[in-house]
Symmetry: C2
DNA sequence: CATTATTACTTGCATATTGCAAGTTAAATT
DNA sequence: AATTTAACTTGCAATATGCAAGTAATAATG
């Protein structure tokens, strides 16, 4: 599962960038070939990391979503994000990393909340695109 | 770097099983081919994850050791270990996982300490071999 | 309603990576 | 001096990956 180039990136994009459709992965700039993408999504589904379902309002679209097993990788990805910010070039702003380092639990909880509520707005700006300065995580408690 | 089957396993074995030599990786039961192993060690060194040095007392042996960049992956590996215990079959005893989940910081600190002090006794039994019941982590403070 | 566009793929083929088995080299052990 | 051990290399077959083009189904457009 972590033995190939793309699977973990796909999971990361599901968690961190809020991707849901084939198209989004395809055009994400990482340059995955469509046959490989199809294969990886199929295998990730077979292994219980994600589910796929037709979008109700548009029968062409398939929505991919993490399973519990999949979202449980959030802490791994968070640590990897923190590691990457320290040792490789990532576009994530320092302040955000520092926040994440000192609020690991809250960050994971927020990611989980969004997953549960099917809120797919990307929780980590800087990975998401242009809105790097935005308030990215709610600080007030949620019922 | 996380785009292949072996690199992360090698790093895991360096951290978790205390491996240091080519032989240890080769015979670890994971079944890595020697050419691939040599290649991965070379690349991991080139990318600054590990260093290699001849053993002083035996000129045949090469000792591989994590760099700071490498050991900084410990939190990632810890989360992955916890995830794996929950969702896949690993040989790690439940009690140990529970301990690790509630003492993340201490576990990482201990792993770091051993790295710093070049103590390569494997910190995680159950990955190490037979001594699964052993007191694996010191609970008293170290100067 | 017919045409065009969009989405999620599949197919065929070239290239790259991996795995296996059998060396090779240098240093240690007997 | 001969054997063993450790850390590799080499050659080749099998597998996986990447690219470009194509297809099928649904949706939007005129």
């Amino acid at each position: 599962m972590f033995g190939d180039r793309w699977s973990l990136l796909i999971i990361r994009d599901l968690i961190v960038r809020g991707f849901r459709t084939f198209k989004e992965f395809q055009k994400s700039g990482e340059g995955i070939a469509t046959n490989i993408l199809a294969d990886r999504l199929r295998k990730l589904e077979a292994k219980g990391f994600i589910t796929s379902a037709l979008e109700e309002t548009d029968g062409r679209r398939v929505n991919y979503r993490l399973t519990e097993k999949g979202i449980d990788l959030a802490p791994v990805l968070l640590e990897l994000l923190i590691w990457g910010a320290r040792h490789e070039e990532t576009g994530v702003p320092c302040a955000l990393i520092e926040y994440m380092e000192s609020h690991r639990k809250e960050v994971v909880a927020e990611v989980r909340r969004r997953w549960r509520e099917r809120d797919s707005t990307p929780p980590i700006p800087g990975f998401a695109g242009s809105d790097a300065g935005r308030k990215w995580i709610r600080t007030r408690r949620v019922a």
